[in-house]
Symmetry: D3
Subunit: 257 residues, 6 copies
């Protein structure tokens, strides 16, 4: 058995791979979140997992099982946590999950870890989980445990943006269920996209503040914040390539000794 | 898109399916845990997920994304949490995860839920998560939210045990990495089992107490607590059948109005 | 003042006894839980305390004050937490209690500890408390703090079961308020048993899953899960003897250097 | 079986007694704490329990099992938590214990509860536990659940103080292991006091602040903060009487409708 | 006594003002965080407080005492939490603080609340605090409690940015200790800025990921992420005006009935 | 910039001041709590802050930003937490706040800290926060971090009490909104006191127990527990002087090496 996925290894194989601390372990962090009428609820899990898998193959790293439930969807970047299907954790639950997993990896000997985030709202709770884990690892006497936290879309290059969106890039915030995610899904999991169901509407606009409880009327009826009309598998292939390239290079650099 | 997996649905499809509260939602709860030299670390996730998927198809239920990390492996039923690869959560983290997910399902309208456990050590932390969720749901004014908690091996019939083990059934406690799990994996995921790597040894025996920190010498070197030598895909097929049959019947009965 | 009970010692006597770390300290963990029409609510506290006291005298150990409130009663082994009188803690509360007490014992110099459980539902929350305590003790630089976790009924020998139940042993799960507990109480605390109030009924049977909220009709009206009709003080004396013998021997072995 | 102690009742007897909500339930809250060379570690549990028992008999109330471990001993009123034998809980653990027990009593129908404190340091964590319980009970729709929080020494009358101490009353703060507690123990549990071991020294004096970590030299070597030299069983009898009288009267008044 | 600051009112004045639920209450949320060699550690508290105060006067709202300690400084937007002076809370502590305060305001009758954030890293922990508060308030039966969460810099208009930065706006992320904050402080609290101590350097650039533990060399030695060289009190006056205008208008709109 | 207030320093100035661990850092801990018809809600913050500032100047210490929200007001010493304006934290929230801040100060190099309490109800939650911080600091390898916990009124001398109250000192417990606090405010912040609004009534008297939920009729309608009629700025000046003198002397002694 050989696989970039830890879950598919036996323990002796895993052990041999990680015990000297050099192998990078990547943990995709996603969400179960509505992504419009045209795309499945697991989009935010599948995308960082696919990217992590490809990066892992390239740099001989490993991928831990993805975290399938994320922090509460926010209206201005995910449509809001009032939507059907969106199934979220309290912030502290997510933070503790990250903390616990990192500490266990450290027990195995792992010293280089990467959180590959696929759901914007997770970011700060991941950061806190990393901080709590590293704090407790110091208490265990482990001082060389390092963690990269990244969101894959931050590796999309300006050239790729220009190519895909021309001058109409609406910003990542409203890319929820839009061209980026849909293109990647069309390339990676076309069976989970029904492009005919895309609702075409201009990018959602919001006031410069959040309101709680959400005003449902702020979210387009589709649940998406911008239209995926221009999504294509070809765009997805390009996006995947730039993310995998960018992250692979970044990790090589981040963990170089 | 049609699938028993919530993760593969769009939100309008999911919403239509669950909003009247009648559809059962099943949540597999597993672990990332060593299962010997011959089987992958995700065994405790794949098995309850496979069973839940088949039950869901039979009774028109849905399966939520499995919980991929479980409670700490105990030496007398899982080899112990000192083993490489085993990657576990604190009890409270698991409990809060269960609590949060159940509450979100309730928000969607779901009223009938099933935790399908694949890792013995999870049991009580699942129970506590259910209790906390139902308590908070009462506070939300929701009083008809019901949950079944089950471990799939409890549905293996005496006849199946007799057929598979003849007189040598060692008890579920030491079935960790043994005939039950290996046979199911051989039937369901043969690529994740290397039967040649099975280490043949008599079932582990333990004193009638637990000791912490673990005495590593109590655990067989393989990490398994009994031998999978007699495992076979045919046994796996039978085990799957009795579990799927038994759970399907049980749920029909549990939730009948 | 000399006593196996820490609570009845002065601090200098206690200090002299424990500061070199050799003396075993046993902590009974019980519950305030209904035990039928015929037996008092403190059964799960009194029994492990009585056993611990006798073991302590035999092996020159000490007994800490019992934990009088336990985890929520489960329907299939305790009748359910909906019953009057049953007064339970959240799992995390019990876990933190165990954690805190163990850490304080460690501060006193104690290095050998035993949780003597008298209420099945406590088990995993005790285990988690032990794990959290040992983790924090490592952070304090204490690496030789050991803990045995046991439930006293696991020390009842097959011979004793045969003698008491002949061929009718229903299994520990439904022994709640049954022959085991009632016999021990008749021997140890006859004033807290009114044998005339025993409701005779066959052992409760349950489906192979748990249901929440409980279905009250699953629990026999008595609150007991099997009949204590055949209980006797003589049986209790035997049960006490085998438990005290078994635990004394086990601890000697567990902590031998 | 008839007893003021809930622990000694069967559930039907308890249920009949509490379900209409009129019966007062008292919970003694103590500590396992050093009380000098002359007195046992359970002093703070035994005293409020004895008082609660007598009050319960007088006003037909019930006594729940005492909480045997309390909050960390403070140097200026308990000698400090660095002392051997003193075995304390984190504040939040104690708070959650109080919260959980009160909520369970409420589930049984109890509406009038009393925390009878025997360890000064517990006070605010009890108060917080009561507040959290009443908050959650409101969420359950229970609005008539009332709780008295008291420390028994606050019911010692000026006349009794004058009689026992003449002009030498040092204040309750330094009464730790002093005349009050020792006299009560001599009257109630003479076997747990060795009056010959009393170390006679003037009341401890402290600066008007606390210092952490404690300066051990601030605490008299005995662990007591004042001398029990003048303690006597006769004083104890008087103290018991005024406390039982005072608390009985106070509760009648507090809960009068 | 009349003041926009709740802290400076007596309770009857406050009560009269808030009990009908119409008055907006604003809570500034800041941090104690290094802001370079030239500016005081309280910058993130003083700025949202000053803005809130002015908005309150304009729309007849109130300002609650600012939260003076915030979430851990992140390297790419605050220099990192390894810097001297930066004094931060765990995420859960901040979340609970927000939760508790909002619930108390609700008890007073307040129904319209605004979190005015001055420290980027606080954002998601504020959001979670709001969510937890609103959840518990629902359990209390309060369903009309609304909260706006905003960061004041999101109200700086493109015109103001153009005027102040011409074409050199580096983005808010690296504005830490830069022109925005320094100009506002020069206008509002000139005594807390020593413009001569500004270290002039180009805006910090970072890779598209975070690294933990921080690589201190990523943060400019000054602790600032961009130069405040072009800051001026005049700019500050303009920035203050657009923020106060923008927030005042936004709140009027957000809470219009 | 030079100031006793950390908040008003730049980080290099602060760093130079604290990194050798000798400088004392004082943290005022207050509350937002009603103080009658005549005095502002921030009384419990302003008074310890003013005192800390003066002590800091005298002994060359520093003052951290005050904690502006405290633990729930208790009826017998603060009027009760049901009053309008009183805005309180859960005990655990306050404890965690104290813990987090102390740990951050330790990271900066600070080793001598003082919690200057201005709200009686905070005391035990401060103590717990200190204990948790020092525990975690030990785990970080820091063993010389010391903390004084004090309440400023404990430094009022008998002479000052005699001078101000003659024979009518009602005890600190009912001094809430009374002569002590009002006099200090008249001296320090006369604009926040409207002496004409003082309601003159005898000191409140209470039974020797607490009752929850509060009986509102126990609290005088003013919210104060004793009359501030005899308050004066001159008294305030004297009180301030004895507190500043007493605390300055005490700290010099507490931290002398």
């Amino acid at each position: 058995m050989s696989s970039p996925h830890i879950s598919e290894l036996t323990w002796p194989v895993y052990d041999a791979k990680v015990k000297d601390g050099k192998t990078i372990v990547m943990i995709p962090v996603g969400a179960l979140e509505q992504h419009g009428h045209h795309m499945s609820l697991n989009t935010d899990v599948l995308l960082p997992t696919a990217i992590a898998e490809r990066v892992a193959k390239r740099i001989d790293a490993l991928v831990a099982p993805p975290i399938a439930y994320g922090y509460k969807s926010q209206q201005k970047c995910g449509g809001g946590n009032h939507m059907p299907g969106t199934t979220s954790l309290d912030g502290h639950t997510l933070t503790c999950t990250i903390r616990d997993i990192l500490k266990e990896l450290a027990r195995h000997g792992v010293r280089r870890t990467v959180l590959v985030n696929g759901h914007y709202e997770n970011s700060m709770f991941i950061v806190e989980g990393v901080d709590l884990a590293q704090r407790e690892l110091r208490w265990e006497g482990i001082h060389d445990f390092a963690t990269v936290v990244l969101s894959y879309w931050d590796f999309v290059t300006p050239e790729a943006i220009e190519k895909i969106y021309q001058d109409e890039f609406p910003g990542w915030a409203v890319e929820h269920g839009g061209v980026l995610e849909t293109s990647l899904m069309l390339h990676l999991h076309p069976n989970l996209v029904d492009i005919d169901q895309v609702v075409d509407h201009p990018p959602a606009t919001f006031p410069p503040y959040d309101f709680f409880p959400v005003k449902p009327e702020w979210t387009p009826a589709s649940g998406c914040l911008s239209s995926a009309k221009k999504a294509s598998a070809a765009h997805g292939e390009l996006l995947l390539k730039v993310c995998v390239d960018g992250i692979s290079d970044a990790l090589a650099k981040a963990f170089e000794s």
